[in-house]
């Protein structure tokens, strides 16, 4: 289903050091990307609790983006690896619960990759527009 007027709502959990800094860089560099993403900043992608992702989906978010440092670059040694393992398992749970696991994205974006952050959001918005709204969404008032 594809609806021209549908604007997906994305919640992004970004690590403080790499991905948030990259997102800020996209902004300060005036790189344009769609305004569909709302960022919640955490210290590390390894501290994204699975319940945050599930709650976002149950509340009706169309997509959840988790952003961390590239493999090997975690500021807390191994948090991004923990995030990666956890998100793989979480996607399985999301699928078993009858939700669409492809609404959950994990991406590595470094502090200098403003363009990459913008690209990721743009791609995600495009992919979610293809999918249509999260079926759990009760109402969507922008």
């Amino acid at each position: 289903m594809s609806d021209e007027s549908f604007e997906p709502k994305i919640v992004a959990f970004l690590c403080n050091w790499c991905t948030y800094t990259g997102a800020d860089l996209a902004g300060t560099s005036r790189i344009q990307y769609p305004p569909n993403v709302r960022i919640i900043r955490l210290m590390c992608s390894g501290s994204v609790d699975p319940t945050y992702v599930l709650k976002a989906l149950l509340d009706g978010a169309d997509g959840v983006l988790i952003g961390g440092c590239h493999p090997g670059d975690c500021h807390y040694q191994s948090g991004n690896y923990k995030a990666r393992r956890r998100i793989i398992a979480l996607k399985e749970i999301v699928k078993q619960a009858g939700l669409d696991e492809e609404r959950v994205w994990l991406r590595w974006v470094s502090a200098s990759e403003g363009q990459r952050f913008a690209d990721v959001v743009t791609q995600m918005v495009g992919a979610l527009k293809e999918k249509g709204p999260n079926p759990l969404r009760q109402e969507w008032a922008v």
Binding site: K55, A56, A111
Partner: protein
């Protein structure tokens, strides 16, 4: 430096010239240790070569943020900007220096950037109207930018600059600048600095490949320099990691790399090896293959110099990639084909015949030259340079220039890789600190301000919205956002701050917060990181704890990336709503602190240990230098010759005297360190003297300098025939022996299956000893049988001299190792030349084996400290590239052969660097917890131990009587991982309560 002198407070300042990786590291360490630093750079923004790099070998990631003093950090450019002790002087040069160590007066000229750093808000409007173009230096000239341009992304200051060579003074930029920041008549300004010491780290200049005309760089479109390719394969580069032929934008299918362009080439005055090109080119090949898997790569090279830790393994991986061919041959010429713009390379095949091959793209792997203008700088400062224009230092004083009080580090001293740069930068920071009398207590701990107790108050949130010269209001209806905020629960007031978040605006916010009894503050606007100090000061002014502040980045997250987008205002409202929801959960927090024991334990009394002990002691710390043997000196005792002619035994004697005369050092011989436990500031070491009772001592920091050992050769008749020696034995018996012929065999016990790493020093050692033999007896015949010659840096000069003096170098490969046979008349050595397959037989008086270096048995020590060893028994550093001195536990550092094989000069730098890192952590005299530290509620904890397992720092452990999993607050780095694995919600993280995130989510999604 041994005669400590009193210097005035003012002269505790240090000037760092050159703010690349080296300069930033030195500046940050000195600043952390409490010294004021002036960080000067010739470029409009600090960062140096770091801006060119996206990924580095062997980690294939950036990782630059890891180089900082042991805590999570932003890019070093930003950290330098944020540090209260660092004063950044961009776009400046030193034009005069007078005085003496401890009291220099430096004259500085600030070049005009024609845009005020204070006023420019980086809105980019000027570049939007500028009609003139220049090629971007930071994109390797492949990308065009305007005459008014912004320094690279992570550069500081990130404000615009005008290139007056291109500017036509049309004035269009002045018309659109909203803050009147542009002044086309800006003049240079001079200023004077009083400093106690100077660190020179102006870095390097990539070789200008146009000077090698035969390769056609600058004439042929598809001949790139490796700097240009580096930008092309970077995600942050102008092509966003797409490799494109400049002539037609097509993806190349056949790419040639040509090594040693501007290195190892006396014809252009670059006789030295640039040390890092083999490896960075290997990385480029690997990244190129990952971006364009179908591309065929041919690499033309002379020797592969993979002499760093883990480098050989990385290189082998790259060489084995499908479609990658390494060809040991130099290209004599490159010609462009007219129609296709393809390139025809002429080279000599292994059998000696000339070959031509066609490629779509050619990459010239350029070397490092001395930076531009450094000749003049050297003259201004009275610092001697070598024949290539690099800074000159002594072998046993690698930190010092020819002028006392001026120290050298990084690529300016010799082309080098990042880990060595980080090491040297740390070392010279220590050298400056020692000169300035060390022991400066950090003024970082701010006095405790009076704060209003809000614990009994119902949340009253104040929302303050600020603009940045109208750039937010262009896209976001700020009045509507304020109106929306006023309707939110707990919001007492929401207002637009007339002056934005400049000083006057923040003062007004602080007043309002006090008058209106606000107890949670939400600040929404252009909240750059650089504002964080000002915001904290504002909170203090308002008598509120800084943790009661929540910020909304309306610039970076909304107005700027969604310019003109109708949905931006809605997003801004939503973000403010989320922040208000989050703010309610914020609680006052004062980081707990612990005192730090100031004593340092140095394990191992060789060159590394003695040097580290001396450095730490001269910086004011009591040191225990513990040696298992009955004598100090370690491997240095056996060294007779080093390159450059310094006398190692004289250096050892001097060092022993210094250690003996240093009252803060206590030497403990014949004492083993059985184990070290505890944490930064309070390590407990179990010391076991040979004849005495075991003791336990407490130290603030530990430096591991346990050394290494020579591999005992197990082949080539060693131990069976007395005419077969090791290099060390040759060195010691040089005076007695008078050989007419010597065959040296390289890589004995190195780069073999059981020990696949390169021992780094043996090539230089062989060349040094070959030259010593030739010195005594020019007629002696010396053969060196090698696999690769790795005389990196200026060591290459010695390799060339050896060849000039008639030393014959012959290659062998691992499949056909030389064979040694004992005959009456001498030793017969047979080998097969790899290229021709020709068999060669040599008869010689002596066979000398270049035996490698192996690790000592460090297992018990490592285990007690919770540290890892690598596959070969060397200590594994925290980050192979950016933190070579740090081991896995905060407060434990490593130096010398315990880390990896290295030469004596490199060991000295490493030991000095390790001492500085230790002192830097101990300098504040107390360690504070992070602001996002974990907390535990003992009543909810079930002692399942998941947090203990998850914590990467060992900050969680089962506490008193195993009743609950406690948090070691000063060890916790505040990542929040333990919070997430806790099944009972017993763990919380300051500032990140789960309820806060849930409520923010509700605000985001509802």
């Amino acid at each position: 430096m041994t005669n400590e002198k009193q210097v005035s407070e003012q002269n505790k300042a240090v000037l760092v010239v050159g703010a690349g990786i080296s300069g930033m590291q030195s500046a940050l360490l000195l600043a952390e240790a409490g010294y004021p630093v002036h960080l000067l750079d010739a470029a409009p923004a600090i960062g140096g070569a770091f801006h060119l790099l996206d990924r580095t070998f062997p980690t294939d990631s950036c990782g630059i943020c890891h180089m900082l003093p042991g805590r999570a950090a932003y890019c070093p450019t930003i950290e330098c900007d944020l540090h209260p002790n660092i004063d950044i002087l961009p776009y400046a040069e030193v034009i005069g220096l007078e005085g003496e160590p401890g009291a220099f007066t430096v004259r500085v000229r600030h070049k005009p950037r024609y845009v005020s750093v204070e006023r420019c808000i980086d809105c980019a409007r000027c570049a939007g109207v500028c009609p003139e173009e220049r090629s971007s230096q930071y994109e390797g000239t492949l990308h065009m930018e305007r005459a008014i341009y912004r320094p690279p992304l992570r550069g500081v200051p990130g404000t615009y600059v005008i290139d007056m060579d291109v500017c036509t003074r049309c004035g269009k930029c002045i018309e659109v600048c909203p803050t009147d920041a542009i002044d086309l008549d800006m003049a240079p300004v001079e200023s004077t600095l009083q400093v106690g010491a100077v660190i020179l780290s102006p870095g390097f200049e990539p070789f200008d490949a146009r000077l090698k005309g035969e390769f056609g760089f600058g004439h042929y479109d598809n001949v790139l320099s490796s700097v240009q390719l580096e930008r092309m394969i970077s995600f942050a580069g102008s092509t966003s990691a797409h490799v494109l032929r400049p002539s037609d934008g097509a993806t190349p299918r056949r790419v040639a790399f040509i090594h040693c362009v501007g290195s190892r080439d006396v014809s252009i005055g670059k006789g030295y090896c640039s040390s890092v090109c083999c490896m960075y080119a290997a990385k480029q090949v690997k990244v190129l293959k990952s971006l364009e898997p179908d591309v065929d790569v041919t690499v033309f090279f002379m020797d592969i110099r993979a002499h760093g830790k883990d480098f050989d393994a990385y290189f082998d991986q790259v060489e084995a990639l499908p479609g990658v061919t390494y060809r040991r041959s130099m290209v004599s010429a490159v010609h462009q084909l007219q129609q296709s713009r393809n390139l025809l390379l002429t080279y000599v095949a292994e059998d000696g015949s000339p070959v031509e091959a066609e490629f779509d793209m050619v990459v010239l792997v350029v070397g490092f030259g001395a930076p531009e203008g450094v000749q003049a700088l050297g003259e201004t400062l009275g610092v001697a340079l070598n024949e290539y224009g690099f800074g000159r230092t002594g072998y046993f004083a690698p930190d010092r220039s020819s002028r006392p009080g001026i120290f050298l580090a990084g690529s300016f001293r010799e082309p080098k890789d990042i880990p060595e740069t980080v090491v040297e930068a740390s070392a010279v920071a220590g050298s400056a600190a020692r000169l300035l009398n060390g022991g400066s207590q950090s003024p970082l701990a701010s006095p405790e301000a009076e704060e209003r107790d809000v614990s009994e108050e119902w949340p009253r949130v104040g929302v303050f919205i600020g603009d940045c010269a109208g750039t937010l209001a262009e896209t976001v209806d700020l009045e509507a956002v304020a109106a929306h905020a006023r309707g939110l629960r707990h919001v007492a007031l929401a207002q637009i701050v007339a002056d934005g978040f400049a000083a006057a605006g923040l003062a007004a916010v602080a007043r309002t917060v006090q008058e209106e009894k606000i107890n949670r503050v939400v600040v929404a606007g252009p909240v750059d990181l650089r504002l964080s100090d000002a915001l904290r000061a504002m909170m203090a002014e308002a008598a509120l704890n800084a943790n009661l502040l929540e910020v909304v980045n309306l610039g970076g997250e909304v107005a700027w990336p969604h310019a003109g987008n109708g949905a931006a205002t809605t997003k801004a409202m939503r973000l403010v709503e989320m922040a208000v929801a989050g703010a309610i959960y914020r609680q006052p927090f004062r980081p707990p602190a612990e005192p730090l024991d100031q004593r340092v334990l140095v394990i191992g009394g060789g060159l590394a240990g003695m040097t580290a002990a001396l450095a730490a002691a001269e910086m004011g710390h009591p040191v225990d230098l513990v040696e298992r043997d009955d004598v100090l000196g370690g491997q240095l005792r056996h060294l007779r010759f080093v390159l450059g002619g310094s006398d190692p035994q004289a250096a050892l004697t001097a060092l022993l005297e210094q250690v003996r005369d240093q009252p803060r050092i206590r030497v403990r011989l014949q004492t083993a360190v059985q184990g070290v436990t505890g944490r930064l500031g309070q390590f407990q070491a179990a010391l076991a003297p040979v004849d005495g009772e075991p003791e336990e001592e407490t130290y603030g920091a530990v430096i591991v300098a346990t050394g290494g050992r020579e591999v005992t050769p197990a082949e080539y008749l060693y131990g069976q025939d007395e005419r077969v020696l090791t290099q060390r034995e040759l060195e010691q018996r040089m005076a007695d022996l008078d050989p007419q012929s010597i065959v040296m065999i390289q890589c004995v016990g190195s780069r073999e299956p059981e020990r696949p790493y390169c021992s780094r020093i043996c090539c230089t050692k062989a060349v040094t000893n070959a030259l010593a033999v030739k010195e005594r007896n020019p007629a002696a015949r010396v053969y060196v049988l090698y696999r690769e010659i790795r005389t990196y840096g200026f060591r290459e000069d010695a390799y060339r001299q050896a060849r000039e003096k008639g030393v014959i170098f012959m290659r062998y490969d691992l499949d056909h190792k030389p064979e040694v046979e004992a005959l009456e008349e001498g030793l017969r050595v047979r080998l097969v030349e790899p290229i021709s397959g020709r068999k060669v037989t040599l008869l010689s008086d002596l066979v000398v084996l270049s035996n490698g270096i192996a690790a000592n048995d460090n297992r018990a020590l490592a285990e007690s400290m919770g540290l890892e060893l690598d596959d070969y028994g060397f200590f594994r550093e925290e980050h192979v590239k950016m933190r070579p001195l740090d081991l896995g536990q905060r407060g434990i550092f490593v130096a010398g052969l315990a880390h990896s094989p290295r030469a004596a000069d490199e060991t000295i730098a490493m030991a000095q660097g390790a001492a500085m890192r230790a002192v830097c952590l101990l300098a504040p005299a107390r360690v504070e917890a992070q602001r996002t530290v974990a907390r535990v509620n003992p009543r909810l904890c079930s002692t399942c131990g998941l947090c203990v397992e998850a914590c990467p720092y060992g900050a969680r452990r089962l506490g008193p009587d195993d009743a609950y999993a406690e948090v070691l607050e000063t060890v916790c780095q505040g990542c929040g991982v333990c919070l997430m694995v806790c099944p009972n919600g017993a763990t919380e993280q300051v500032g990140f309560a789960m309820r806060r995130v849930y409520d923010m989510l509700d605000a985001a999604v509802s």
